[in-house]
């Protein structure tokens, strides 16, 4: 099982019901194959950076789900045949998430070590000062 992110654009002239229907259909593909939907986000209508099929705007929908690689193939096929979907992008994110997690842990560990290590060198230096000061008058 892998974690994926699917971002797709629906034609701007599609109605709310049509959008809901498409989203439902796509989530259905994932759940039918034994995957789970983790997140569904509707970004709403946005201006496209360039023209896609003569559209200047599009309705963005983001899905995050966990499933196997075959399911993604099926999902992409479905998106391709759906006329209202003008563009889509699938990104596998489980490895990125793992990397981020590792990095975060590393950061915390370092911060923790810094917090504990900072007073430690301070003590010898104070001791050195105390040793140093009596010597100065001599």
């Amino acid at each position: 099982m892998r974690i994926y992110e699917e971002l797709f654009i629906i034609k701007p002239d599609a109605t709310e019901e049509e959008i809901d229907q498409i989203v439902e259909q796509m989530t259905g593909v994932v759940t039918a194959a034994g995957g789970t939907i983790d997140k569904t986000e509707k970004w709403g209508k946005r201006r496209l950076a360039y023209r896609v099929d003569k559209h200047r705007e599009g309705y963005y929908v983001l899905l995050q789900f966990t499933c196997g690689p075959e399911t993604v193939k099926e999902l992409e096929r479905r998106l391709r045949v759906t006329d209202a979907v003008i563009k889509f992008l699938t990104v596998r994110i489980d490895e990125t998430l793992k990397r981020l997690e590792k990095r975060k842990k590393h950061r915390e560990k370092r911060a923790h070590r810094k917090a504990t290590a900072a007073p430690a060198p301070a003590q010898p230096s104070v001791a050195a000062q105390m040793l140093g000061t009596p010597e100065e008058p001599k």
Partner: protein
Amino acid sequence: MAESRGRPGSASQRPTGGDKAVLTQKKQYFRRKKVCRFCVEKIDDINYKDVKMLNAFIAERGKIVPRRISGVCGPCQRRLSDAIKKARNIALLPFAAVI
């Protein structure tokens, strides 16, 4: 001959090592050392959906700003360019912007 070309333009024409080239040459002007924004602000996740952040790293024409200008470190630039390319693919960023 090399010393006579002390104009600020000569350093930028060099292909590599923006900061080093200036320092090894005669120290005539001071340039602030560039730092990687992602390392300094501790941004681990360079995400393709964060258009506002990516916009800071594309030029007027929609090109990716080179490392020698933006100061982004190697690993971060690699992730950044990947993110920009993904964003372009889904029409969040332009391939070529019209001015």
